[in-house]
């Protein structure tokens, strides 16, 4: 039952040109160089170490690799990570 609703929703979003991140509550990431990452619509931290941060989102987890990683701010909707970011990977994403 969920799949047809999803398909209709997608079609509507494309037809009406609505912002997908707002409609589907997708995580939104802004990477400034390799020093700072701002992520909106996160669902919490799964793992945190100076070399790796795993952040949960609605679609799956986002893994940030790097060195000297620090969490500058953590708010219910937004998380800011700074440090030397070497890679951002997406694991077990539903889409």
């Amino acid at each position: 039952m969920k799949a047809p609703v999803k398909k209709v929703g997608k079609a509507l979003v494309e037809l009406l040109e609505l912002p997908r991140d707002i409609v589907f509550d997708l995580p939104r990431m802004v990477l400034s160089g390799n020093n700072q990452l701002i992520m909106e619509n996160h669902k919490g931290i799964i793992e945190y170490s100076p070399g790796k941060i795993r952040v949960n989102t609605r679609l799956g987890e986002v893994v940030i690799h790097g060195s000297g990683l620090t969490i500058v701010t953590i708010l219910p909707e937004e998380i800011t990570i700074s440090g030397r970011i070497s890679a951002v990977s997406f694991g077990d994403w539903g889409v």
Binding site: I45, V72, T73, P76
Partner: protein, 412 residues
């Protein structure tokens, strides 16, 4: 500092409850350094119990903690307040007086300033710069302008002294010719003209007389204009004044047997340094000094208030110039002889050289046609000396002597 096994859970719960946490760093092991507010720290207690973590304050920073510290050190606060109060009070007083005034007047101006209340330690609020300036001007008749300005704790007083015009000589005098000349212009301002433009005059000849005669004649313009009527001829002694310009001729002679080498000095800018106070802010090099050069230094201010100045280094080099022939040397000598006879306002209009050669020797004679003022004042005593007139006698301008020194002679 948060320690324990469930640090991620601790962070997630804190963010869900909107507890402000920032600058979160994970150290080795299960240690987390976080920053929070006083209120946030209180909210962390339930989370600590739920996650099994331990929270320890590592450092306290911020205004509430600083104020709490200050409460214990009240003497420091009192000292700081006292210092501020002292600085405020001292800044409201005059501590320096800069007097920009000629040396002769300085002592008087200082006295008057003290009388007006402008002394070291005086309160600025009680002093009005314009009022002080007015008091100074009123107190002394030697001052033309006074400016008083307060810059911080410094009072700057600028004084311009009165420079009175020199009292001219009012004794009666004639104008006589300084040399033999042809008069080009003669415009009489005061006195009686004895010659006319275009005439030749001799050295010492009277040009404008200081004795002015008025005839008892209605047609005399002086009588007509002034309305004065003279029963008999009147004489008045004045200081003769006129614009007298003449043309005259001078001679110069020079001889030379051999030429000479003329030397010239060449000045080259080597470096330019820009200073702000005593700190050099920029340097520009234009040329390199050579061992033959004599180095000189010149310093000038670009903007005095900021002490912005330029220091220039010059290299001075004596250069050999072209060789002069014997004729050129003799000509220069003759010309310099002519120039020695010229006054400061005289000009050479034409030069006619006459060149004679005798073997190696060259003789040059220069005839120079010059133009310039040819009159000089000659004071006289009205009641004495030759040329004194009695009432009823008047000089005849046509009756001029050869020498021209005293052309006015009593008739009869």
């Amino acid at each position: 500092m948060v320690t324990g096994p469930g640090l991620e859970k601790f962070l997630n719960l804190a963010s869900q409850r909107s507890i402000p946490l920032w600058n979160i760093k994970r150290l080795q092991g299960d240690v987390l350094i976080v920053t929070t507010r006083v209120g946030g720290f209180r909210q962390l207690h339930p989370l600590v119990r739920r996650t099994g973590c331990r929270v320890k304050i590592k450092r306290k920073a911020g205004l509430p903690f600083f104020l709490a510290q200050l409460r214990r050190r009240w003497a420091l606060c009192a000292g700081a307040l006292l210092c501020l109060a002292a600085a405020y009070m001292l800044a409201g007083q005059i501590w320096f007086i800069q007097l920009d005034c000629p040396g002769k007047l300085q002592a008087d101006v200082k006295k008057e300033l003290a009388r007006a209340g402008l002394v070291i330690g005086a309160d600025k609020d009680k002093l009005d710069p314009n009022e002080i300036a007015e008091k100074l001007l009123a107190a002394s008749d030697k001052l033309a302008w006074v400016g008083v300005e307060f810059h911080g704790t410094m009072a700057r007083v600028r004084v311009v002294p009165k420079i009175m015009p020199q009292q001219g000589d009012t004794r009666p005098c004639h104008l006589v010719a300084t040399r033999d000349a042809e008069l080009i212009h003669l415009i009489v301002y005061e006195g009686q003209g004895m010659v006319e433009a275009g005439e030749m005059v001799k050295k010492g000849q009277l040009l404008v007389s200081g004795r002015v005669f008025y005839k008892p004649d209605e047609t005399n313009p002086l009588v007509r204009d002034t309305g004065r009527e003279f029963a008999e001829p009147q004489v008045e002694f004045v200081r003769a004044s006129a614009f007298v310009e003449g043309r005259f001729w001078l001679e110069g002679y020079g001889e030379a047997a051999q030429g000479q080498v003329d030397k010239q000095v060449k000045r080259t800018v080597l470096e330019r340094h820009y200073y702000l106070g005593s700190v050099r802010i920029w340097k520009k090099t234009f040329a390199k000094a050579t061992p033959q050069m004599k180095i000189e230094r010149n310093e000038r201010y670009l903007y005095q208030p900021l002490k912005l100045r330029i220091v220039e280094r010059y290299g001075i080099l004596e250069q050999q110039q072209k060789e002069l022939t014997a004729e050129e040397v003799a000509r220069q000598l003759a010309l310099s002889q002519v120039r020695q006879q010229l006054g400061s306002r005289d000009k050479i209009e034409k030069i006619k050289p006459i060149i004679l050669r005798e073997g190696n020797l060259v003789r040059v004679k220069i005839l120079a046609e010059c133009r310039g003022p040819v009159a000089v004042e000659k004071p006289f005593q009205p009641g004495e000396g030759e040329g004194e007139y009695s009432i009823g006698q008047e000089p005849d301008p046509t009756n001029r002597t050869e020498s021209g020194t005293e052309p006015l002679r009593p008739q009869g």
